[in-house]
């Protein structure tokens, strides 16, 4: 049963509201070049955590791969199909975090990865 009573009786819900903390910290970074890694070290109390991020750029232009015409649907299909392949074959020690929308007429699409722990 998905019951409200069940949830209400949970002791954790009260601790959740009590343990408020900062969720995100925004750090302005200089322009990251292709395949350059960003290393972020965070110390919380005595705990140290290091995160590695990388923005990769994949080819977005796909004129050479168009086999079924150059209408918007064919272009979109060709792009997505290649993006899927590139993501699938990417180094498995990195996990995909976010795909950024490419600017109009841009040749590349940028994808944010984080090193797996």
């Amino acid at each position: 049963m998905l019951g409200f009573e069940l949830i209400k009786s949970s002791k954790t819900c009260y601790s959740i509201y009590k343990t408020r903390s900062m969720r995100e910290v925004t750090i302005p970074l200089p322009l990251v070049k292709e395949n350059e890694q960003v290393e972020i070290q965070v110390n919380v109390g005595k705990k140290r955590k290091i995160e590695h991020y990388k923005i990769d750029s994949f080819q977005w232009e796909c004129e050479d791969e168009l086999s079924r015409g150059n209408d918007a649907t064919s272009i979109s299909l060709a792009r997505i199909s290649r993006l899927k392949k590139l993501i699938e074959s990417y180094d498995k020690s990195w996990e995909l975090i976010q795909i950024f929308a490419p600017l109009e007429n841009s040749e590349f699409i940028r994808v944010l990865y984080r090193k797996k722990e």
């Binding site: 998905l2 019951g3 209400k8 993006l83 993501i87």
Partner: protein, 226 residues
Amino acid sequence: MLKTKNLVKIFRSDEIETTALNNVNLDISEGEFVAIMGPSGCGKSTLLNILGLLDDATSGEIYFRDIEVSKFSERNRTKLRKANVGFVFQSFNLIDELSVYENVELPLLYLNTPSTERKKKVLEVLDYMQIAHRKKHFPQQLSGGQQQRVAVARAVVTNPKLILADEPTGNLDSVNGEDVMNLLTLLNKQGTTIVMVTHSPTDAEKAHRVIQLFDGYIVTESVKKV
């Protein structure tokens, strides 16, 4: 619990035809927490609205608990939504003319829940959301975080099996955002299936599975170790 087959959504105006969703195939299990990510305009909210039967797909099928629901009449869709689905929106979508109590009571009124039971449920949920002290206030008198708590209260007061959340932390500061995410996580742990659209990688980390949508296509899915 929720399955789509070759879901396509095309928006047509006089001159332009925009394909928002392209052959989307999804299979969401009971009790799962799924995040849908992708850049603005990639079709995330369109997908969520179609999954919640708030909008029609141009073609394709939607199954809710193995029943094909995409061809349901408006009457049956409403019935299914009222009994099974809770919605949480980025802009809260509370009714300004109704008090906090009345906003949360509304889904129970639609379900013809008896008055005594209604009162009990509303007060319980408001108490749980730690917003009971504001029950007589109107949405405009509350902060964004408080409004979203009321919106979540409204979404869960009927004990829905499925919660569809569209950018639930999008208009909140980090502290209130975390509260809402903790709440959704807790509801999921209690068995509620959650499908959440988000731009936030931090919020997506709470989900069991992250689906990346791009130009209306599912580009990739990643399953988290739970």
